[in-house]
């Protein structure tokens, strides 16, 4: 029943977008709720507040297209159609998990939905995504790869290395930098000499756009417009999406008492909450129906995870080699 999205629509559909952001929000809220029970034994990096970006980017993608997410990857996984039951089971460490209990929250993967595996080492997925895109080019599939990274990841040398290579070979990569202003607790000011990231990316010949509000519809339309040329060998594009992580870096709570960022900033960003913004565009009844559907799906997923079996001890040794 989940993962709907066989053919992407030509136009932004508010109901569809709302459904997607709301679903991710609710899944993560549920994860946060369950977390203190210690049933989830895997560090969770919630993207609450940032969901609109993943949804905006993934909405126009086709099944053949791929996404590559970070350890903060629940949103990308779900937005691209990753299986919810398998995700929840993975967080619980169950054999039915998407990585059969061998990945955890930071390594979600669903190759059937073309969700490439996430990685806990910042930046590592960026060149891997480019390699996946290179294979698409070599095999002329016309597929593109959306590669998500944080502002922190952009500081790793493999990022400019990958930009150069992707531009040189005109690889079909959508680089999406989710700039939430922090790497764990360290602000940009301590890490970036300047904030001219888009300018820098343009020097590789890659079109780069900054989305100051990261409006879901605007991002969606930008991608939808870019896709045809990319599918024909037009090369990579880059998006810098300004955003805000509502919760703490890792774990279910908040971190405003730590003093490194303020609740006032949160309030500012909450005004742009994609769930609220998109909800406003919907008829109340439509919204209520969607919400109910999501709750049912979510409850089923938790139930699935809870009742799924643990991996057998001998599975420790399986899949080391193919």
């Amino acid at each position: 029943m989940p993962a709907p999205k066989p053919v992407p629509p030509k136009k932004a559909d508010p109901a569809r977008l709302y459904r997607a952001v709301r679903r991710i929000r609710r899944v993560e809220e549920e994860v946060a709720r369950i977390y203190p029970s210690d049933k989830i034994k895997s560090p969770v990096h919630l993207s609450i507040g940032q969901e609109g970006i993943a949804v905006g980017v993934c909405d126009p993608l086709e099944p053949r297209d791929a996404v590559s997410g970070t350890y903060r990857g629940h949103a990308t996984y779900l937005a691209k159609g990753g299986n919810l039951n398998a995700m929840m089971a993975e967080l619980f460490g169950k054999d039915t998990g998407c990585a059969r209990g061998k990945g955890g929250s930071m390594h979600l993967v669903d190759m059937k939905a073309n969700v490439l595996g996430c990685s806990a080492v910042v930046g590592t997925t960026v060149p891997v995504a480019a390699g996946f895109a290179m294979a698409q080019k070599m095999r002329k599939t016309g597929a593109v790869v959306a590669c998500f990274l944080g502002d922190g990841a952009s500081e790793e040398g493999c990022f400019p290395e990958t930009l150069n290579f992707a531009a040189l070979h005109k690889l079909p990569v959508i680089f999406v930098c989710e700039n939430n202003g922090f790497a764990i607790h360290e602000p940009l000011a301590k890490r970036w000499a300047t904030d001219k990231l888009c300018e820098r990316v343009r020097t590789y010949g890659i079109p780069a756009v900054r989305f100051a509000d990261s409006d879901t519809v605007k991002i969606r339309d930008h991608i939808a417009k870019a896709l045809p040329a990319m599918r024909k060998g037009g090369g990579p594009i880059f998006l810098e999406c300004m955003t805000w992580r509502w919760r703490e870096h890792v774990g279910p709570g908040e971190d405003y008492d730590a003093g490194f960022r303020s609740k006032a900033d949160l309030a500012k960003w909450q005004k742009k909450d994609p769930v609220v913004v998109l909800a406003k565009k919907l008829d109340k009844k439509v919204k209520a129906a969607i919400d109910a559907e999501i709750e049912a799906e979510l409850a089923a997923a938790v139930q699935f995870a809870e009742t799924s079996p643990w991996p057998d001890a001998k599975e420790l040794y399986s899949d080391v080699f193919a």
Binding site: D38, I40, K41, S42, P43, V44, G93, K94, G97, G101, K102, G103, G104, S105, M106, H107, S119, A120, V121, V122, G123, G152, A153, E155, E156, G157, A183, I184, H185, E186, K190, R191, W192, V250, G251, A258, G259, F260, W310, P311, A313, E315, L316, Y317, V320
Partner: protein, 370 residues
């Protein structure tokens, strides 16, 4: 060492005192105390690395340093481990004494080019013209669902390199002494700490002292079998030795403390008596620390007559987060005791301690995530 075991199970008020007045300190606090002492003594010492200056202060191990020494000597960096390692090397060549901190050992794989190709070779390939007094602090995260990329103990990669030193303290006393020795060393030194040891306590003198390379410690004397433990495996081996003693086996436990240079003489001496050696490494076996220790033992002793050598360590797999799998991935006091028993009593039926007795306080105490 054994003093630690006399501590009452609930943590003391901190910094605590033994009944005889000696101070006990947690491993994590011993680390920051060591750095604070050295930064006070020598203004060339500075500390940098991702997140060393935030409120979590590398799980507490850099706590107070920013406040005390200011942001010119305690600072975070961009996420650029490769270049930052080069920066540390260059600063060291210029006479500074950098401490570069990594919250997980896994991230050192980004630093390999600088460590292997420059840091470990600079003095030699520049004909003695430079020295690289640099400390790289790294922490092993025992999994608790952390998974394959946040749990690695990659010490053997560094033990392989001429020109590198490697310390793996198993207790608060050594954490402090090794850190101070590392900072004072004129060579690149890798400190391998273990996250789960951070809350463990030991008697730690207040002033500066060094636990230098070159001397393994016999933590517990025994007759029947020698157990060598690396990093937290020392603690687990000590517990295994207790369990073994209940089963009538007297185990000697040795902590190499420093893995490079590695003092195998102490181990060889013990093995010459017991002729049964179990090496418990907190890492993979293939080409690991356990392989080197076993090889040296074999070179030194196997020609003299029968000697039984066995290794236990991580399963030959990446580390899985699912709890059942993860438990099976790691050696523990039960598996260590069982393996040692089999060595000591080859003709007796196989024995393993009651699993309930093999859980260690310092592990149970921990709740993820970190």
């Amino acid at each position: 060492m054994s003093s630690r075991k006399k501590l009452p199970p609930p943590p003391l008020t901190w910094p605590g005192r033994m009944e005889d007045g000696r101070r006990v300190l947690r491993y994590v606090d011993a680390l920051s105390e060591a750095v604070a002492l050295e930064m006070t003594r020598d203004e060339k010492v500075f500390l940098f690395g991702l997140d060393v200056d935030d409120h979590k202060s590398i799980q507490g191990s850099t706590r107070g340093l920013l406040e005390r020494f200011g942001k010119d000597r305690v600072f975070t960096t961009p996420l650029s481990e490769d270049a930052m390692t080069g920066v540390a090397i260059g600063a060291a060549m210029a006479g500074m004494r950098p401490i570069h901190v990594h919250i997980r050992m896994d991230f050192l794989m980004l630093c390999m080019n600088q460590i292997v190709n420059i840091a470990s070779k600079a003095r030699y390939m520049y004909g003695g013209q430079v020295k690289v007094p640099m400390v790289v602090r790294s922490i092993i995260g025992k999994s608790w669902g952390q998974g394959a990329q946040h749990s690695q103990a990659l010490h053997s990669l560094f033990m392989h390199l001429p020109g590198m030193k490697v310390a793996a303290p198993s207790n608060a006393h050594d954490a402090k002494g090794c850190t101070i020795a590392a900072i004072r060393d004129d060579n690149p030194v890798l400190m391998m700490e273990h996250r789960l040891l951070y809350p463990t306590e030991a008697v730690v003198n207040e002033g500066a002292y060094v636990v230098p390379p070159g001397r393994s410690r016999v933590c517990r004397f025994g007759r029947d079998v020698t157990i060598v433990g690396v990093s937290n495996m020392v603690v687990e081996a000590l517990r295994a030795a207790e369990l073994l003693s209940e089963a009538g086996v007297s185990a000697e436990v040795i902590d190499p403390i420093w893995l490079a240079p590695l003092d195998t003489d102490t181990i060889i001496e013990s093995a010459r008596r017991t002729r049964k050696v179990l090496i418990a490494d907190n890492g993979w076996l293939n080409c690991g620390a356990s392989a080197e220790i076993a090889a040296r033992l074999a070179e030194a002793l196997a020609g003299e007559g029968p000697i039984q050598i066995k290794r236990v360590g991580f399963a030959p797999t990446p580390c899985p987060p699912s709890p059942e799998l993860e438990n099976a991935f790691y050696p523990n006091p039960g598996t260590i005791a069982a393996a040692a028993y089999a060595l000591a009593k080859p003709d007796a039926p196989a024995w393993a301690p009651d699993p309930a007795a093999t859980k260690l306080a310092y592990q149970l105490q921990f709740k993820g995530p970190f």
